[in-house]
């Protein structure tokens, strides 16, 4: 099949960007949209033009590196699927498809379709961890975690850190991402005393870096990890819990 591509080109963060039209021919419907870009790039290089920059790595839907906006939708037309698994069979032969970077005030464009998502890590850095040094952990069989609790933690820990939720949100909110992290960590038996401080610190950083949540719910439609909307409620729950406990930064 063949696709007409309209692709966002931008030299770097400071430069102005704009769309450029391309075509790729002779691509199979089973190819991913990223593989179609590989083919386009091969042709661009052959012609002496500059290839389109985009991030990807595992191409198996797990590392969270990939992330482009396809026809206005983060990751692409197929719901809950990362860019590296979006296949051309979603498009009609000869269709025009628009490719842009993830759009969000929190994500400066690095080049073309590649963006800087380090704000996501700054939230984790502010408190999204367990304070245990190597060699000091208790025997993992000495505390029990119910099967059910482990499963809940896993549902939340499935987040691949792609940042699509933020890009999908009209407000640029990171509540789904932060809620998933808070709920995952809240289940762990080894970190209960820093739970309140963590919630305050992470929410504070989140509010500095990202927009507020108005419960639009667009985030859950694009999330490749299937993080549920309850994660958003988790942000308020954990924050409220910290306030109600009343202790400043430690509980």
């Amino acid at each position: 099949m063949k696709l007409k591509l309209k692709i966002w080109r931008q030299e770097n963060t400071a430069a102005a960007g704009g769309f450029v039209a391309y075509e790729v021919d002779d691509v199979q419907p089973e190819l991913t949209i990223l593989e179609a870009l590989d083919k386009l790039n091969d042709e661009l290089v052959e012609q002496g033009d500059s290839p389109v920059a985009f991030d990807s790595d595992c191409r198996e839907g797990i590392c969270g590196s990939c992330g482009i906006t396809v026809d206005g939708r983060p990751h692409g037309p197929e719901a809950n699927t990362p860019s590296c698994h979006q296949r051309l069979k979603s498009f009609a032969d000869g269709q025009q498809v628009t490719l842009e970077p993830f759009r969000s005030a929190a994500y400066p464009v690095v080049r073309d379709l590649a963006v800087d998502r380090s704000a996501l890590d700054r939230v984790v850095e502010s408190g999204g961890f367990v304070s245990i040094d190597a060699g000091t952990a208790p025997d993992a069989d000495s505390h029990e975690v119910s099967h059910q609790a482990a499963e809940v933690a896993l549902d939340m820990a499935a987040c691949i850190g792609c940042g699509a939720c933020v890009a999908a949100c009209p407000n640029g909110s990171a509540n789904l991402y932060v809620g998933a992290k808070l709920l995952h960590l809240s289940v762990l038996p080894t970190t209960k005393y820093e739970r309140g401080r963590r919630a305050r610190d992470m929410v504070e950083t989140m509010e500095e870096e990202f927009g507020p949540c108005s419960l639009y719910g667009e985030c859950v439609e694009v999330c490749p990890a299937g993080i549920p909307l309850t994660a958003i409620a988790g942000v308020n729950r954990e924050k409220l819990r910290a306030v109600l406990r009343g202790r400043d930064r430690d509980d």
């Binding site: 089973e30 990807s56 595992c58 198996e60 190597a134 029990e144």
Partner: protein, 655 residues
């Protein structure tokens, strides 16, 4: 006697004159006591002195993230580098199956000794026994640690940790978190790393690629990096350098690895004098997705469990043009069941991969590119009904259909061996230090533990153990001897010279100004390796492979085109540098495979098989690790003899 052509190729590249290597494991005690003994003799650095030492850790996967976090916790000044935009994206995140630990909690008769036996035997007796003992011993607390920092391991209904069994062992010692074990370990370890970043002990440098190792006065004293966003090339100095930069399976272009995994860091260290051990030991996974068309970028792993119900076959007639379902029963060759009546479709990875390759090579391959074999569920569906099969493998079937457009309930799946795991890597001694003082190695970048064939779920373990529990003991022992010696100044002229050389190297690639982009060379290199240094190897094929690689390399340096400049975000330039290293790496892999005139584990030389087609290992001549030194464009082999005290060598047999 070797045929003349092979002997000539060997003579043109190789010398066996290197002195015998000493693995430096304690010899006065039994291997199971070696680690306790060594730890006791390690020198320490007092807490007050630790911050005077700078340590560079390259890589933020399970090995690097753990090492950087643990050394930061101890109080050292750590600089952590990754080419990813975030530490969590390291390739470790993609592992699914699980992580082994010899905790021996159940009454299935597991023990440290059994773990060691399984691992050493699985690796076909080409690993260092004392290292495997250390891995077993530290595995016991690795699970506790990873759980404590946030990996939600699967739990039984009663609340205890759950385990499952994995290939090559008969006990249940694999801990897991659904099919996302790597992801959960990696996320937990990245968070532990970010905790140290916040504490100010670890300085994290993302989107920074290591381009060279700084060796001055015979010690590793720093690295040269390129900022992948700005293109700026800089030198960083330290008292010690740790390489935890992952495996090089991507040299085959299409592999199960993440697209950006590469050999550059390890290979540049090799150019500076670090020995490269067992470069030809590569594990091929038998149930990878076949290449469906030219533009497919990798081969996704399909779970080995499919072989429980699927039957593997090819048409009896070579190049049979009929669709699978039109081929009658008596014109199908269930070759695994025919050749291995006892294990049948469940033969181990290396055996199944080899048999598939034989069929494909002899013209029996199926699919549009004739490069795969069938994995057929027809009989299982007839026997058990569709619902049972869908319940057992539904998600895998969906994944397959998604990727290929074919429904495995209606037509057989197509599978093929895919390059997967690098058992070889930079040589290190028992203290995880390379032959260059101050250069340490961990995880898949190194050669330790797995011998010629890795058991499933042992690699996440080795990366975690190295990072959290081996390097944090052995590095201080080295640093203690440097107390009072400051790290080199970054503007020392000798340091500048290294950065300048890297800059010149990068610019030289841009200046070639040819017509072909780097990926084209990579694809061709991958094809050469799959056919000449793949699942099975022959002396003749390897010698020819070396010739083809040398030709391709000449073409690369004459006709490479790197679009864009060296002073900006330039993914073509990143690839060009990595492929330059892959070309040399590929040559070394073929050389090692040609030189090692025996079969062992994943290294199968067709000249060396038993009457029944099994690998003929030759302990009388090859019971050593080959570690290669680079001398200009030639290689010198150093041998580290291997002796086994606790596990007596025997032949692997799966009939």
């Amino acid at each position: 006697m070797r045929p003349e052509f092979e002997a000539e190729v060997l003579a043109s590249l190789r010398s066996t004159a290197g002195p015998t290597l000493d693995g430096k494991a304690p010899t006065e005690v039994a291997p199971e006591l070696a680690w306790a003994d060594r730890k006791l003799h390690y020198k320490l650095v007092s807490p007050l002195n630790r911050r005077k030492f700078k340590i560079i850790v390259v890589g933020t996967g399970l090995a690097g993230g753990g090492a950087a976090a643990a050394l930061g916790e101890l109080g050292y000044e750590v600089h952590s580098f990754t080419f990813h935009d975030a530490p969590r994206r390291a390739h470790s995140v993609a592992a699914q199956g699980g992580i082994n630990a010899a905790r021996g909690r159940k009454v299935d008769n597991d023990s440290l000794a059994r773990f060691v036996k399984d691992t050493v035997k699985g690796g076909d007796y080409r690993a260092r026994e004392s290292d495997v003992w250390r891995l077993a011993e530290e595995s016991v607390r690795v699970i506790d640690h990873m759980e404590a920092i946030g990996a939600p391991f699967a739990r039984e209904y009663g609340g205890q940790l759950a385990t499952r069994s994995f290939g090559g062992v008969q006990v249940s010692r694999t801990y897991y978190t659904r099919g996302q074990t790597g992801q959960q370990l990696q996320v937990a370890s990245s968070q532990a790393l970010l905790r140290q970043v916040k504490a100010g002990t670890v300085h994290l440098h993302t989107r920074s690629e290591m381009l060279d190792l700084i060796v001055i006065d015979g010690r590793a004293q720093g690295i040269v990096t390129r900022d992948l966003v700005t293109g700026k090339i800089e030198a960083h100095t330290a008292h010690a350098v740790v390489l935890t930069t992952g495996g090089y399976g991507n040299v085959y272009f299409r592999s199960t690895l993440a697209k950006n995994s590469n050999v550059t860091a390890a290979f540049r260290a090799h150019r500076r004098g670090a020995l490269f051990a067992s470069p030809s030991f590569i594990q091929f996974h038998p149930t990878a997705l076949p290449i469906g068309n030219e533009w497919q970028s990798k081969t996704i792993l399909m779970s080995e469990s499919l072989r429980n119900d699927g039957r593997i076959w090819v048409p009896v007639a070579p190049a049979d043009p009929r669709p699978a379902n039109d081929i009658p029963e008596d014109e199908r060759d269930y070759y695994l069941e025919r050749r291995y009546p006892a294990f049948g479709n469940l033969t181990p990875r290396d055996v199944a991969s080899r048999a598939a390759r034989d069929e494909i090579e002899s013209g029996h391959g199926v699919g549009p590119l004739k490069n795969s074999v069938y994995l057929d569920f027809r009989d299982a569906i007839a026997r058990l009904g569709k619902p049972v099969i869908v319940e057992r493998y539904g998600n895998l079937f969906e994944m397959y259909e998604h990727a290929t457009g074919e429904n495995p309930l209606e037509v057989p799946m197509r599978i093929a061996p895919g390059a997967h795991f690098a058992m070889g890597g930079l040589w290190s001694d028992y203290d995880a230090m390379s032959n260059i003082p101050g250069l340490f190695v961990g995880g898949e970048a190194g050669w330790a533990y797995h011998g010629a064939n890795r058991l499933g779920a042992n690699s996440l373990l080795s990366a975690c153990v190295d990072g959290w529990f081996t390097l944090p003991y052995s590095i201080p022992n080295y640093l203690a001897g440097l107390l009072g010696t400051p790290a080199l100044e970054r503007d020392d002229p000798r340091v500048h010279a290294f950065a300048e050389e890297a800059r010149t190297g990068v610019q030289a690639l841009v200046d070639i100004g040819g017509t072909q982009g780097p990926d084209r060379f990579h694809r061709r290199l991958g094809d050469i390796l799959y056919s000449h240094c793949g699942v099975s190897r022959s002396g003749e094929g390897l010698a020819e492979g070396i010739r083809l690689i040398q030709e391709l390399r000449r073409e690369f340096y004459a006709d490479l085109r790197v679009q864009g400049s060296s002073g900006s975000f330039n993914q073509e330039l990143e690839r060009a540098g990595r492929i330059a290293d892959y070309l040399d790496m590929a040559e070394l892999m073929c050389l090692d495979a040609l030189d090692r005139d025996e079969s062992c584990g994943a290294h199968f030389r067709v000249e060396h098989q038993l009457a029944d087609g099994e690998a003929a290992r030759d302990d009388a001549h090859w019971a050593f690790v080959s570690a290669w030194e680079r001398d200009g464009s030639r290689y010198v082999r150093h041998d580290e003899p291997l002796a086994f005290e606790s596990v007596r060598p025997e032949t692997r047999n799966y009939r």
